[in-house]
């Protein structure tokens, strides 16, 4: 048994080893570069000015009062990203469940269909959404044709959210599906047989079982949507300025150090958020089982 244990740990070491080296070289070291740039000035002398600037830079708001520029930008980014993530979850969760209950053949077909849009370039997909949403666009012509009147969507937060949901929905469905396909459906039947109401089945059985998928899905949607700049530029008519735009803008202005500082702060905040989320869900999920 001890020999087996030893070999088992050898297997473990061999399995994880290359990745550990890779992770240090290509994840941690570049991260070091971000931190290095965030805490230095143009002459590579240590400074905290970039970090301080993020929290203190002010500009004049619409009503003439001073607002903290980057906190305003952050707030808007977080708001849009959270709404998009929630919408993705609300739409993706039932869809993933429906797919996971279909026949094996239908499952495969539907999952491939969900991946197909992602194989078209995202720049072109976003262009297509502009055509659909604009004032003279397809959606408005359709609505007008049905006598429902026109809506102004392009250039609003709604348009940006639609774009994000569209682009990132597959990232929500995939991990959810991968967990749900593996779920033991006898548990659900048992709960039903024992007189549990549908809402109860969902809350007490399905949800806890699929929790790891929810966590992964939320991670995969929240992060790209908090740092995107392309979608907000195209579907937001350039009227919004999100964190991604701020980083890109600083880069174009040849201000790598401040760009790195914004990225650094964003990263620390997201890592903290992830850690908190994982702490609670892990306890919840595995404690419950």
């Amino acid at each position: 048994m001890t020999a087996k244990k030893k070999r088992s740990s050898l297997v473990t070491g061999l399995a994880g080893g290359p990745y550990e080296v890779w992770a240090v070289l290509f994840i941690l070291v570049p991260l070091g570069f971000v931190a290095y740039y965030a805490f230095t000035d143009n002459d590579f002398r240590f400074t905290t000015a970039n970090i301080v600037r993020f929290f203190t830079d002010t500009s004049t708001g619409g009503d003439g009062s001073a607002v903290r520029t980057y906190l305003v930008i952050s707030w808007r980014s977080i708001k849009l990203a959270v709404i998009s993530t929630v919408v993705c979850l609300v739409l993706g969760y039932p869809l993933a469940y429906i797919i996971s209950r279909a026949s094996a053949k239908a499952q495969k077909t539907m999952m491939t269909l969900i991946m197909i849009p992602m194989w078209m370039n995202f720049l072109i997909r976003t262009y297509a959404w502009m055509t659909i949403l604009q004032d003279t666009g397809i959606l408005n012509n359709l609505l007008a044709g049905l006598g429902l009147g026109r809506v102004h969507i392009i250039g609003t937060e709604t348009a940006v959210i639609i774009g994000m949901v569209y682009d990132y929905l597959p990232y929500m469905i995939l991990p959810l599906y991968s967990i749900m396909a593996k779920m033991d459906h006898r548990l659900i039947e048992a709960a039903r047989d024992l007189g549990c109401a549908p809402a109860g089945v969902l809350r007490r059985v399905i949800l806890p079982l699929s929790m790891p998928g929810v966590v992964n899905g939320v991670t995969m949607v929240l992060i790209p949507s908090i740092s995107t700049f392309y979608i907000s530029q195209k579907l937001g008519d350039g009227m919004f300025f999100l964190l991604g735009d701020a980083i890109e803008g600083q880069y174009v202005a040849n201000n790598l150090h401040f760009a790195a500082a914004i990225a650094f702060i964003l990263m620390v905040a997201l890592l903290a958020a992830m850690a908190v989320m994982r702490y609670f869900t892990e306890k919840h999920t595995y404690g419950g089982l």
Binding site: K4, R7, G16, G17, P18, E20, W22, F26, I27, L28, T60, G62, V67, L91, P94, L95, I98, I99, K108, M110, L113, I114, I116, P117, M118, M120, F122, L123, I124, Y127, A128, M130, I132, Q134, T136, G137, I138, Y166, L174, P175, S178, I179, T219, M220, I226, D237, G238, M239, F241, A246, I247, G249, Y251, V252, A253, N254, A260, L266, M267, M274
Partner: protein, 659 residues
């Protein structure tokens, strides 16, 4: 309930496929527009198959995606197993954290930070070019890995822990238990992870942009760089083709799968039995399948090696770096300048030359890559203010004009300008002037004429303003008569006030760059400031309800893009021959006709056929008779500003955007 879920699923797929249907329809559009359908045509498909640069980019993208997905799936699965079995909770959560980092990093920062690291590492190792296919592959594997791990790990954790233990208790080795029990259990997650990795790699633009070297541009990079002009519809054709290929694959795999293939297999077995042969040994079958898979892998590896070496083997290589859509490329019957150059060079000099023609999206992007010595090019075509900056930073080589005799055809007006006062470093390629384009069906002629049109509250929600700080501030500064290169910050503050007023009065519909084409053509916006040449591109595709017109305000922006040789050049002589070739009559005219921008080359604008082809209106607008060009140019062109001022302007721009 059943019905509700069916309707819901159907609606979701409508949502997912609506944009693809749009692309499909517009790929058959006769005009260039993605807003106005003017007639059925297959021409974009012809264009696509003729466009060797795009096809090369497609191949690059696929090769990269297959390699990245393969490598990250193997390594990621191993890593997930490793993390899963790790006994130290501390180490496990640490590794978990690290795995999340590439997903948490905004891709632009992942891209930049990896570029910085590769540059640093290659300097340590004394390599000349830090970026290559290898660095691109490393970057892609790195950002694909967490997605594979995050697919596989939850599946492992969901697995019944007793299963592998039972297998081992029954005498299975740990390896055996892994192959026979754990692997089949986690296989669906591995496949999903691989598909995700493949998809992500296929779609990534930002990280590729920063980590790829000379000679390996992917499709997303190529498309993004089309922003100087606009995305060409052969991309819609490409999307449509990809769509049908995947659909075909899907149908095929469904046919060969499940019941059907089982029926087939049963039939085959029956046939064998009827022929008196025993059923195939499962071991033999496994070997057969293994051989098939192995062959496929070898073929793939060969393809990769072929692609990688193919670009390195030829003796003469010329690397050209230009704006997207900024050279005549053979589309719609035009001249394929790059191809013709290669043919001409081989005939003239008896040696073949391979031209790697690649594109960038903005001066700043190009500068960032070149200034870090990350890549090397032989010829670049930046704009005036960037040339000034690069000269100042010793990034350009003086040209040997003995090798560029065609320089004599460059008009005197385009010599000795501020950015290169002694004519040492640059040869003008094209120039342009910003004017105002408006829809005469909406805008009253009497209101047109100067910059005030862009501030006119009569046209609320109709004005398209530039979506980059320099050009947007430019409109306000030309309007107010402020020097666009002033170092006086209070003047910039004044310009901001003007832009704020423009935004808050509701005049601005959008801040745009290349979107301007679709929006003006469809009538979505009625007033926009953009480059004169682009007005004609829009005219070609305007909707029936739109009547576009153009004029120059009194003070406006002039720019020149010029050919230069960067100090990283490997082959200066061929580079100079190329520059000279670009100035010769045929290619120069082809480029001017393709881009619709004005040419400083006498061989072009004095050519009767060119003048005829352009038409009277276009000639009058593209080559306005304004007396001394250089005087106007030196007064109004953008100059290089110092970093502090750029930073200040950027923060003003943010103020405008958050209001």
């Amino acid at each position: 309930m059943k019905r509700a879920s069916k309707i819901f699923t159907a609606l979701m797929f409508v949502f997912l496929f609506a944009p693809l249907v749009i692309l499909l329809i517009f790929s058959f559009n006769e005009a260039r527009s993605l807003s106005v359908f003017s007639g059925f045509s297959l021409k974009w498909y012809q264009e696509l198959f003729r466009d060797t640069e795009t096809l090369k980019a497609v191949r690059n993208t696929l090769v990269l995606a297959v390699c990245a997905a393969g490598a990250s799936t193997v390594m990621g699965t191993a890593a997930a197993v490793g993390i899963y079995r790790m006994r130290s909770r501390y180490l496990r959560s640490a590794l978990d954290m690290v795995t999340n980092i590439p997903m948490i990093n905004p891709d632009i920062i992942t891209g930049i930070s990896m570029m910085l690291m590769f540059v640093f590492a290659s300097r340590l190792m004394g390599l000349a070019n830090s970026l290559s296919f290898l660095t691109l592959l490393i970057a892609h594997i790195t950002f694909c890995l967490p997605y594979v791990i995050l697919q596989v790990l939850p599946r492992l954790r969901q697995m019944d822990k007793a299963l592998p233990e039972a297998a081992m208790d029954l005498g299975c080795t740990p390896w055996g238990a892994f192959w026979k029990v754990e692997l089949p259990e986690i296989m669906p997650a591995i496949v999903t992870g691989m598909i995700m990795a493949f998809t992500l790699s296929l779609d990534d633009f930002v990280i590729s942009y920063f980590t790829t070297g000379t000679g390996f541009q992917t499709l997303p990079i190529r498309i993004y760089n089309m922003t100087k002009k606009t995305v060409t519809p052969d991309m819609y054709a490409l999307a449509t083709i990809i769509f049908f290929v995947i659909l075909a694959l899907l149908l095929l795999s469904n046919l060969t799968d499940s019941e059907d293939s089982q029926r087939l297999r049963a039939a085959r077995r029956a046939k064998r039995a009827a022929a008196g042969r025993p059923p195939m040994d499962p071991k033999k079958r496994r070997i057969l399948y293994g051989c098939g898979g192995g062959l496929a892998l070898v073929a793939l590896a060969a393809a990769v090696v072929f692609t990688v070496t193919e670009t390195d083997n030829k003796p003469q290589v010329l690397n050209v770096y230009n704006w997207g859509e900024y050279i005549s490329d053979g589309s719609e019957g035009s001249m394929d300048v790059i191809k013709e150059f290669a043919a001409w060079y081989e005939q003239e000099y008896g040696r073949p030359v391979q031209v790697n023609y690649e594109t960038f999206a903005s001066n700043e992007d190009m500068y960032a890559k070149l200034s870090k010595n990350a890549i090397s090019y032989d010829v670049i075509i930046p704009s005036d203010y960037m040339i000034a900056r690069m000269i100042q930073e010793d990034m350009l080589l003086p040209l040997d004009f003995d090798n560029i005799p065609n320089y004599q055809y460059i008009d005197e007006d385009f010599r000795g300008l501020y950015y290169d006062p002694d004519n040492l470093y640059s040869v003008p390629y094209a120039y342009g002037i910003v004017g105002i384009i408006y829809n005469a069906n909406v805008v009253d002629e009497a209101d047109a004429g100067d910059w005030d049109l862009m501030w006119n509250e009569k046209y609320a929600g109709q004005v398209l303003q530039f979506n980059n700080s320099r050009d947007a501030f430019g409109t306000a500064m030309y309007r107010a008569g402020i020097d666009v290169n002033t170092t006086d910050r209070s003047q910039w503050d004044l310009a901001l006030q003007s832009l704020l007023e423009q935004r808050q009065s509701g005049v601005v519909r959008s801040y745009v760059m290349d979107e301007v084409y679709n929006m003006m053509e469809s009538g979505e916006g009625a007033i926009a400031a953009y480059y004169a040449g682009d007005y004609f591109t829009m005219l070609d595709a305007q909707a029936d309800t739109v009547d576009l017109r153009f004029y120059y305000p009194e003070r406006t922006n002039f720019y020149i893009d010029a050919m230069c040789i960067p100090s990283c050049c490997q082959n200066k002589e061929v580079a100079e021959i190329f520059i000279n070739y670009m100035l010769s009559k045929q290619p120069a005219i082809a480029n001017a006709e393709y881009t619709w921008y004005a040419s400083p080359n006498r061989l072009v604008y004095e050519d009767p056929d060119y003048v005829d082809e352009m038409g009277e209106e276009a000639m009058a607008i593209l080559y306005p008779d304004w007396g001394d060009f250089s005087e106007k140019y030196n007064a109004y062109a953008y100059r290089n500003l110092d970093n502090d001022l750029l930073d200040y302007i950027n923060s003003l721009w943010e103020t405008l955007k958050i209001n």
